[in-house]
Symmetry: C2
Subunit: 300 residues, 2 copies
């Protein structure tokens, strides 16, 4: 039986079966980061992301942006848990015929983003590979009181995103996005998000992950969903790699949150609310409701 | 200019230039693991290893052994620093036409070794890839007093290895080796190794890494080097993937160490000593000396 018979999520389910964790693991597979005991005040966050030539970037992509993206997506995972990134390792599978200039630019893309977020690149590994393959594993810290998981959405909480959605792959934004570390830290330090995730598979799919882990449903308002220029509603709902944060806030906080002026030009868009009714219900301009089918990005 | 002009170590040198670390990093690139501040008593060890189809294993290799090897090589890195492994993440680049049965066996290989060494597999990432590519990143702990680096070899220290060398790739041992966690913990808890490394590139190359970091030289005695069956001296010196530990002990300890009976059938082979004279000098059966050229495994 081939993998595409069970699909990406079937594969993940099989992977979950090999997971066995002791009490030092607060959260294993099933969130943006693994959450590990660290000290009295903090948890340690641990995440990895692999990007592959021809899948996550093209052979002609500027190597500076490949290096940048490899680090950015792990930063985004740390942000999704409310944490601050600290250290990373880089595993590199690299084709024999790569030029030194290419590698130098690639390293510079990594270094510049690492510098911006004050993280240490502490080592790595190197192998030969036919496709350029980059895997960044990252460590971060989050105060125990500030940890946000996918599983904390409650009925009545309002749903927000940190930016406009859709068209990331076509526009090249997936190579240049800003990981929402600052927004995430502002949120956890000043509010109490119930749940959070970064949008990598698409709004509908990633909201779906929150709903699944929280055992809830959601209502989205079509007119509220912020779309990038020249992007259809379908793209805003289903196209992946936006790397905006999607989070929920308790109603009381959310009302105030939506009124105040946020610092540093941060923008937050209210898009809907959590309900008890399963699945995602989309309310259109005429207040007609329809169910949103999950059709986000799949590798298999 | 192509990569093979600067070679694997030239590439690593370029990588080192992007490394910038703050005071929470005790040791960055240049050892088997990155060493990070953790708590009063312990350092945290952080390492990653990527294996690629056609380079580190063959398309026809039993997937159980591929999964096993992916975890084992990171365990070996933790052992090389004197530590205990704790958690790991698995990034998987996987061809579309892989069978579910293959993946299940692969996962089982990982799980069984993880279980044996009581480590938590806490998550991972998944991508499509033409060659099966596995990157395991691992966390471990080591008591501050027990940390062993490559840089601590001193003149007069004796050099040991934990097992017979050579022929690992041809015999398939590189897929089935036992990571030397137990030996490493026995060593650091009962003795005070000056330096340690695991032999992945070959005895001469990895001893070379210790000598370079410690700014020392070494004398090896041909008759003392333990060889696997049907293995030439050249293979014992230069063929990679033995994954035995290579370590040095202060003379006083070493003499006693070489006499006592070690528990659990552990075996340690004295092979030479650290000197001030640069490079590796090999003493043959007739007590003639010659320099050993570094010609270990290179990806480029």
């Amino acid at each position: 039986m081939l993998l595409n018979k069970i699909g990406e999520f079937g594969l993940i389910e099989r992977f979950k079966k090999i997971i066995k964790t002791d009490s030092s693991v607060i959260e294993g597979v099933g969130d943006d980061c693994a959450v590990l005991e660290f000290d009295r005040r903090n948890y340690q966050l641990f995440t990895c992301d692999m990007i592959v030539e021809g899948v996550d970037f093209l052979p002609q992509t500027d190597p500076y942006l490949i290096g940048r993206k490899a680090v950015a997506i792990s930063l985004s995972d740390i942000a999704a848990c409310g944490g601050l990134p600290k250290h990373c390792l880089v595993s590199l599978g690299i084709p024999k015929k790569t030029s030194v200039e290419f590698v130098d630019r690639f390293f510079r893309g990594m270094r510049d983003l690492a510098k911006k977020y004050k993280i240490n690149i502490v080592g790595g590994d190197l192998s030969k590979s036919r496709q350029l393959t980059v895997d960044v594993s990252m460590l971060g810290l989050v105060e125990k009181k500030n940890l946000v998981l996918r599983s904390g959405a409650q009925k009545g909480q309002l749903i927000f995103v940190t930016g406009k959605l859709g068209g990331s792959l076509n526009s090249g934004r997936h190579l240049k996005f800003i990981p929402r570390i600052i927004e995430s830290r502002y949120l956890v330090n000043n509010f109490k998000p119930g749940s959070m995730i970064d949008i990598s598979d698409g709004l509908a799919a990633d909201l779906g992950h929150i709903l699944e882990r929280s055992k809830k449903g959601a209502i989205l308002y079509e007119t509220l969903i912020p779309k990038n220029n020249n992007v259809t509603l379908g793209e805003a709902l289903f196209s992946g790699e936006d790397f905006e944060l999607l989070f929920t806030l308790p109603l009381k906080q959310a009302i105030n949150f939506n009124k105040v002026r946020h610092p540093q030009n941060m923008r937050f868009f209210l898009i809907g609310e959590i309900s008890d009714y399963p699945g995602i219900t989309l309310v259109d301009r005429k207040f007609c409701c329809r169910k949103v089918k999950d059709s986000g990005f799949r590798h298999f």
